[in-house]
Point group: C2
Chain length 117, copies 2
Amino acid sequence: MEICPSNALPVRIGDKWTAWVVRLLEHGPRRFTELRKDMGRVTPKVLTETLRAMERDGMLTRTEFDEIPPRVEYELTELGHSLRALLDHTCAWTRENLPLIEAARRANDEADHARTA
Amino acid sequence: MEICPSNALPVRIGDKWTAWVVRLLEHGPRRFTELRKDMGRVTPKVLTETLRAMERDGMLTRTEFDEIPPRVEYELTELGHSLRALLDHTCAWTRENLPLIEAARRANDEADHARTA
DNA sequence: CGGGATCCATATTGATACTG
DNA sequence: CAGTATCAATATGGATCCCG
């Protein structure tokens, strides 16, 4: 799945991994390890922190099943889905404008380099 | 001027002060000290960093006038104004949803507290 | 006036190892 | 499987002082 470049710049939803989690949950509940495997390199600690923060803010629910081996599922709430809509919007903006930003950056860096040289 | 609560949660545009700068420049160019005075407590170092980063990304222009005492003006570019539009959108989302987030937070914190007690 | 330079406090993220 | 615990690295922001 392609995550939009919003992770690169310049709009951030929550902390570093929040947007990613929203994307991975947008089509239904997922398990801890599924999330972990689909997100670049997240340590379990950081993923747990992210999920707990999102749960606290009402963005998702955590459901623990009483089985062995254990199973826990995370699912977006309505509020979480509303956040997804906002994410879509910022992704659209980023897709449209990131090339302009990168062009400006290249131009400015080149100018700086010319002045230094 | 009332800045929207997006500084609090959960969407961030650029670094900590970027959104603030966009707001302060949306009606025209401003000078360094004007910006500084209107933004809570920013040290000149951090404000300079913020402005330089935004300039590099093509969000604003920096114009130096050859006068004594020195005068420098910062002004949003078209790209900067487009960022302002995105900011408006995220502010609207936040205004709508922040109460829900805070309610969820209170509810969860209360539940945790009850479990601890 | 508009910063630059230096040093410091803290928040955020990651690495690694271990467990009910 | 789904985490927790501990420790370390780093990025960010701030304090303070100084200068052309």
